[in-house]
Amino acid sequence: MNDSHYCPHTPEEISEMLAAIGVSSVEELFAPIPAELRAKPLTIPAGMSEFETFARMQAIAGENTQGMTNYIGGGFYDHIIPSAIDHLSGRAEFYTAYTPYQPECSQGTLQALFEYQTAICRLTGLGVSNASLYDGGTACAEAAMMALRVTGRNKIVVDASVNPFSRQVLKTYLFNLDVEIVEIAPVNGALDRAGLAAVLDETVAALLVQNPNFFGTIDDFTDLAQQVHTLGGLLIASVYPVSLGILKSPGEMGVDIAVGDGQSLGNPLSFGGPSFGFIAAKKSLIRNMPGRIVGETVDRNGKRGFVLTLQAREQHIKRHKATSNICSNQGLCALRGLIFLSLVGKQGLADMAVLNRDKAEYAKARLAAIPGVKVLQSAPTFNEFTISLPKPAAALVEGMLKEGITAGVPLCDFYEGLENALVVTVTEKRSKKEIDHFATLLEAALCN
């Protein structure tokens, strides 16, 4: 035995404890497990020191290509992360606590989550937010299930310009239920309103849309909200929180449930997680919300405090009738989101949104100036846009990877007839110089 590996007892202490229990060995405590069920020894390797462990982890990380310049998004975005976020969310009092079941000794987590819910409500313009879901895709699925419950209907209409991964998650969640999902193909990277009108009727529980959509196109769903509400359904919008620094909020459009992925708010890319999903809704839907909700109250002396509230919706009380099965969520990532939003602040988020769009517009003009390259959509875009190339995008992207550039997300895997289309993402982290270099390389690649 080279060390304790976090089991602190000395042999003497173990003897004392065994004596107190009245057994002669630790093995005796496993007597309730029938002998014939006992495991063969584990085959995993022997342990190692902390130093060796970290060296191994460094080696693994080193097997990924470092320092890629990113023009990819698709739900995860390469944004700035202020240093204070790591330090504050890295405080052990936050990250080694658990669900704040005991409010008196969990006011730190509870107040932070209340502030988080407030930030999400103000950002989305809606009346209630929960304390986080898993990610953007599962948030879409939870919102859809919420709409099924609220309306008692069993059809979800989805604009296919919603993130394809989120749509796949939605399908997975619903495949064993008696629910119909109808997808409307986009036209020129934008929502097909005529196609949508043809399928919307009084059997639809919800319409799911996204802003900006997977192509990067910005929309205003005010008309859709009215249309869906007339038919007794709900409008669910997946939104990109950074864009809400300037874009019309879901609340202003009449959206009933807003969801999205919170990675862009202070959470690292980290190969896809952890991030957090957010969900906000009109206050009238509060009892159908999934997950934890923190509420304000007072203590015995009338002092303000915060508690988990409306827990009777949740699985630990309502079991199979709960509004969701979610228990552990992404609390620490939501805390990072709150710190990010509070640090960047009111004007800062608006400025950051403008900066993203300015960079993207510059890149869009640079790339569109390359012979044979066209911008796919005519509608305005935020920090992503779609270009169509004179040749298949997949091979081009593969070639650019070797230059250390993720050039964009080819649409060939997600939409028919768009083999030459590429979604390019430009965040505030990309400099003019980098964008110019990217344009030069792209032009060269297209000439070959």
Partner: protein, 482 residues
């Protein structure tokens, strides 16, 4: 403490953004823009750092307090795990999904693949998907795999029910219900496990799966588990293992060996990753061979050249359960934990977790009612029924513990034990810490007899006293509108 919004001063800024080096774009049409800037905080970096630092000080946590929260496995979270996960912060998940992109992500894809192999060994399963994002998400994924299995055999319409014991975590019936099943609940027998006779009666060919936690939420290992799985299989029902209590049995029993077909593991419990004030967790799902075709995609495979590749178009797959590859950062920590402890370390962790729980159980047995008095695994469940005779509830004891600097055990769960107090010390606590906790628990039991009012008044040392939860639920002030 004031809310961050109450500390805001209009015009104050916390971050300087990168300067723009490109021309300003033409303004967007007004109908696409929000009428007013969102009412976020306006504070300096120092204001903000103090705010969140001071908020953090209002929390109990594993690093500051003994935290024997039953069913949650609040073990110490080694610091090297945090440093390990940080190494992966810059990697964009979409890179691996680009044409030819896997080549640039061999480290991360390889780690996920290898983590799956390690977990398969520990659980006795044939393949593991690392996509599920938490325990309950793993449960839902697992039950969807069960549904896909039955559907592929033409039994979708026939299989209507999922059987759970009444001692199960609430997530089990909730996950099965969300996946489209009706629930049959089997009561617990006086011997502390699912009543075998009632279970037999509940089992029909319409049952799709049986969900078990083993050891169960009473901390007891079910000696009939093999018989239960044989009965389930005779009805073509699959056995689901809720891995919440896996910390009790690493290296001692492999769920796959005793008849389980599907399992989720909670990396944030068993494998030492922090709980984050409520998450993120991670809930990889392991399956037996028959269920591999249905696993979520993309599936990570190792090709003939030893390169890790993504399989994204598998016809039988239930599809994606998350947008990318799961909570990678959490899995990096769990991976580091497993390779650091290694096979002996994991076994020792389980052994000492069980030793600690039995030690606390025996020491407190004279003072608290122990409704199921037998050797426990990693946790023990008392009832405050003796104290109730003096008008003292489990919650009063919990609040007294807070005053003494202990995070309370889980109370009022499992629901089948009246006034339940569920204690899970974990293997990382020292004897000294447990002895001090035991003394305080004994003091609470004595105070219940001599001075119950003092327990009703607790806690007195916290920034706030007991909160009015009824007011919160009735008034529903869940955000502070600008």
């Amino acid at each position: 403490m004031q809310l961050i919004y109450e500390k805001s001063i209009p015009g104050r800024r916390g971050v300087k953004l990168p300067a723009s080096d490109v021309p300003s774009a033409a303004a967007l049409p007004a109908h696409l823009l929000r009428a007013e800037t969102a009412g976020l905080a306006e504070v300096s970096e120092l204001d903000l750092v103090r705010h969140f630092t001071n908020l953090s000080r209002r929390n109990f946590s594993v690093d500051t307090n003994f935290y024997p929260l039953g069913s949650c496995t609040m073990k110490y979270n080694a610091k090297v795990l945090e440093n390990s996960a940080a190494l992966f912060a810059p990697f964009h998940p979409m890179t691996a999904l680009l044409p030819g992109g896997e080549e640039f992500c061999q480290g991360t894809l390889g780690m996920l693949h290898d983590l799956g192999l390690l977990l398969a060994d520990i659980t006795g399963m044939d393949e593991v998907t690392t996509q599920p994002l938490a325990g309950a998400h793993g449960e839902m994924t697992g039950i969807l795999l069960v549904a896909a299995y039955h559907a592929a055999r033409g039994n979708k319409a026939k299989k209507k029910y999922v059987v759970v014991p009444d001692s199960s975590h609430g997530t089990n019936p909730a996950s099965a219900a969300i996946a489209g099943y009706e629930i049959i609940t089997v009561p617990t027998a006086p011997y502390g496990d699912m009543d075998l006779e009632l279970f037999k009666k509940a089992m029909t060919d319409e049952v799709a799966a049986v969900m078990m936690t083993c050891p169960n939420t009473l901390g007891l290992f079910n000696p009939h588990i093999k018989e239960i799985s044989d009965i389930a299989h005779s009805h073509d029902a699959l056995m689901y293992y809720d891995g919440a209590n896996l910390n009790a049995i690493m290296g001692k029993v492999k769920p796959g060996d005793v008849g389980f077909d599907v399992i989720h593991v909670n990396l944030h419990k068993t494998f030492g990753t922090p709980h984050g004030g409520g998450g993120p967790g991670s809930g990889p799902v392991g399956v037996k061979k028959a269920l591999i075709p249905f696993l979520p995609q993309p599936r990570i495979i190792k090709d003939g050249q030893g390169l890790f590749q993504l399989e994204s178009k598998r016809p039988g797959s239930i599809g994606r359960t998350a947008n990318f590859f799961g909570n990678f950062g959490v899995m990096a920590k769990a991976y580091a934990y497993i390779i650091m402890l290694g096979r002996e370390g994991l076994v020792r962790a389980s052994e000492q977790a069980v030793l600690n729980a039995n030690y606390i159980k025996e020491r407190l047995k004279p003072y608290y009612d122990l409704p199921y008095d037998m050797t426990c695994m990693h946790e023990c469940v008392f009832s405050a029924s003796k104290q109730l005779a003096h008008g003292v509830h489990a919650i009063d004891i919990a609040k007294f513990l807070i005053d003494r600097g202990y995070h309370p055990p889980t109370v009022y769960f499992p629901m089948i034990v009246k006034e339940a107090i569920m204690i899970e010390p974990t293997e990382t606590e020292s004897k000294g810490t447990m002895d001090a906790f035991i003394e305080v628990m004994i003091e609470a039991a004595q105070m219940a007899e001599t001075n119950p009012q003092a327990l009703h008044d607790a806690p007195l040392t916290m920034p706030i006293s007991r909160l009015d939860e009824t007011k919160a639920a009735r008034e529903q002030n869940v955000c502070c509108m600008a």
